[in-house]
């Protein structure tokens, strides 16, 4: 076995990928305004990403179950966050797979964040298969109340 896959597996994987892309057209990979992000992938892409923001910080959630968090390579340049790593799912031997849908192998994703994030102020943690990355926003970009003097 040695982790090698037969051509039949490839055909199956291709079929699964198409299936997932179809699913994605229905309900995945869109911004909330309904248009597809230029970096959006199908919902089969690993890891899936959600991004939320408050006036103080931007939080990125990577849905990356079963990875070694220490092997994850996170880097941020200005407002672009790059994520890369490898997920190693060991193939089982002496038996038969009926389904093989879980991602295995190297992955890379790039996420554009709001322009006011501060790359110096990043914190990341891994819990229950989700990597949560919090990046502070620059104070000057927060909305400021303007008092009108009478």
């Amino acid at each position: 076995m040695l982790g090698l896959r037969s051509p039949y597996d490839d055909v199956f994987n291709e079929f699964r990928r198409l299936e997932r892309e179809f699913d994605a057209l229905l309900d995945g990979g869109t911004t909330l305004s309904g248009s597809r992000n230029i970096r959006a992938f199908s919902s089969g892409t690993f890891p899936a990403v959600n991004v939320a923001a408050s006036p103080e910080a931007v939080t990125v959630y990577l849905f990356a179950p079963g990875i070694d968090a220490r092997s994850l390579d996170l880097s941020i340049q200005q407002n672009v966050l790059s994520i890369s790593g490898t997920r190693d799912v060991k193939p089982q031997e002496n038996g038969t797979y009926f389904r093989q849908e879980r991602f295995t192998g190297p992955f890379r994703r790039v996420v554009a964040l709001p322009e006011d994030v501060d790359p110096e102020k990043v914190a990341a943690r891994y819990d229950a298969g989700i990597v949560q990355i919090t990046i502070d926003r620059r104070a000057s970009e927060k909305p400021r109340r303007i008092d009108i003097q009478s």
Partner: protein, 135 residues
């Protein structure tokens, strides 16, 4: 080798769940799974990131194995979503177990968002090696 023992027949797609919910946008995530059969039983792995042990519900109903889990998001009140690949916080899937599997001996563990479930074949149906004695 047996024919397929765990059938994904009743796995529900997101669109079916949506229809069932009466057109409301209530998505259910179907976790990607691996299903593997060896001599003694079946193992499956389901990717359910964000689900902790107390939010996971695994149960056997007749010959169906039902799997549900909720993602625990830590979202503060003033946060808004900018982008989302994942549009739901609920995972759901089910399998039909064939009769040679022993549903009373299911073993499950959850680590880093990956659920591993082992369902052995009934002891009397497991292949047995017959010792040949020499006289």
């Amino acid at each position: 080798m047996n024919t397929q023992s765990v059938r994904p027949g009743s796995a529900e797609s997101a669109s079916e769940a949506r229809n069932r919910a009466g057109g409301r946008r209530e998505f259910v995530l179907r976790p990607p799974v691996d299903v593997f059969e060896d001599r003694d039983g079946i193992t499956f792995w389901a990717d359910m990131p964000g689900v902790s042990r107390d939010r996971l519900n695994l149960r056997i109903d007749g010959n169906a194995l039902l799997l549900e889990g909720d993602i625990e998001f830590q979202i503060k009140g003033d946060m808004e979503a900018l982008y989302a690949d994942v549009h739901s916080t609920r995972y759901q899937c089910s399998f039909v177990l064939s009769t040679e599997l022993d549903a009373t001996q299911v073993d499950a563990k959850l680590k880093d968002g990956v659920l591993t479930v082992r369902i052995p074949k009934r002891a009397e149906l497991q292949p047995r090696r017959i010792e040949v004695r020499t006289t």
